[in-house]
């Protein structure tokens, strides 16, 4: 498993309480710059970062890794984005 720079993006419980289909989070990722992260709800809740689509807890893999990026759901249902070191 790779080592990532993890950024806390949002809380899954709060997102689901809002009853939205999708929500765009604008975050200034320290060391990277201002980024937009799209959170969208389907069968799984997923995030899109830099054109990489990451499904949270996909196939019971937590963190779920794809194309040098990862998404992680912690015990408090906070969703973290992992970017390459």
């Amino acid at each position: 498993m790779s080592v990532y720079n993890w950024y806390e993006i949002f809380n899954l419980d709060e997102f689901e309480e809002e009853d939205l289909v999708s929500k765009t989070y604008q975050l200034t990722l320290s060391g990277i710059g201002l980024k937009e992260i799209l959170v969208t709800k389907g069968n799984n809740t997923s995030i899109v970062y830099d054109d990489v689509f990451l499904s949270i807890n996909m196939n019971d893999k937590n963190p779920f890794e794809f194309e040098d990026h990862a998404v992680y759901l912690d015990s408090e249902n906070n969703v973290w984005l992992g970017t390459p070191e």
């Binding site: 498993m1 790779s2 080592v3 990532y4 720079n5 993890w6 950024y7 806390e8 993006i9 949002f10 809002e18 009853d19 939205l20 289909v21 999708s22 929500k23 765009t24 989070y25 604008q26 975050l27 200034t28 990722l29 320290s30 060391g31 990277i32 710059g33 201002l34 980024k35 937009e36 963190p63 992680y72 912690d74 973290w80 970017t83 070191e85």
Partner: protein
């Protein structure tokens, strides 16, 4: 005017449903979750002959803030646009004894007392300028000493939109380096 007799402004108010529906009705999900009930709409024709109001001019203004952010890692800048407002300004002339002027003034006062709950909406139809579900932005009247005419300025803002898509407020996120967050590498 939208193929009608005259330009029209329609005020809609909602009342909070405080009816005791009883045990039986309260178990029906749809009935139980309706928080407000609509009151009959109040139309005012903006016509000299009908209400004594004359539309002098109408302007529509859309104001958007555009920020261009350059990332450290990207060649292409990120462009973020935020809507400031979308306003329709209606300038009217009315006689002192105009019934339309009195109604308009009273309804705007009524809206002022209901700003917090926001249970109202305004629809405006005049030729190509249409606004559905708008909000009152400002209302002012000016009277000259030279004549008995009122000059009314009414500004309406585009109303709230119930969307399933939302953009969160920007914030700064600090990184945590490791295999998973909370466990250092």
């Amino acid at each position: 005017m939208l193929n009608g007799v005259a330009p029209i402004i329609i005020f809609d108010f909602l009342a909070t449903a405080s009816l005791d529906l009883g045990v039986t009705f309260s178990k029906i999900p749809v009935l139980n979750t309706i928080p407000t009930i609509p009151l009959p709409s109040i139309p005012i024709y903006l016509d000299e002959g009908l209400t004594g109001l004359y539309v002098e001019s109408v302007t529509k203004n859309v104001d958007i803030e555009t920020n261009v952010e350059k990332n450290l890692t990207d060649a292409n800048p990120v462009i973020i646009q935020k809507g400031i407002n979308s306003l329709v300004t209606v300038n009217l002339i009315a006689n002192q004894d105009s019934i339309g002027m009195i109604m308009l003034s009273l309804l705007c006062d009524k809206i002022f007392s209901r700003l917090l709950d926001g249970k109202y909406s305004i629809t405006y139809l005049n030729k190509s300028v249409t606004l559905f579900g708008g909000l009152l932005h400002s209302f002012s009247t000016v009277q000259n000493s030279e004549n008995d005419l009122f000059h009314i300025s009414l500004q309406l803002a585009k109303g709230r939109v119930n969307s399933t898509i939302q953009t969160a407020v920007s914030r700064i996120a600090q990184p945590f380096n490791g295999v998973i967050p909370g466990v250092a590498s």
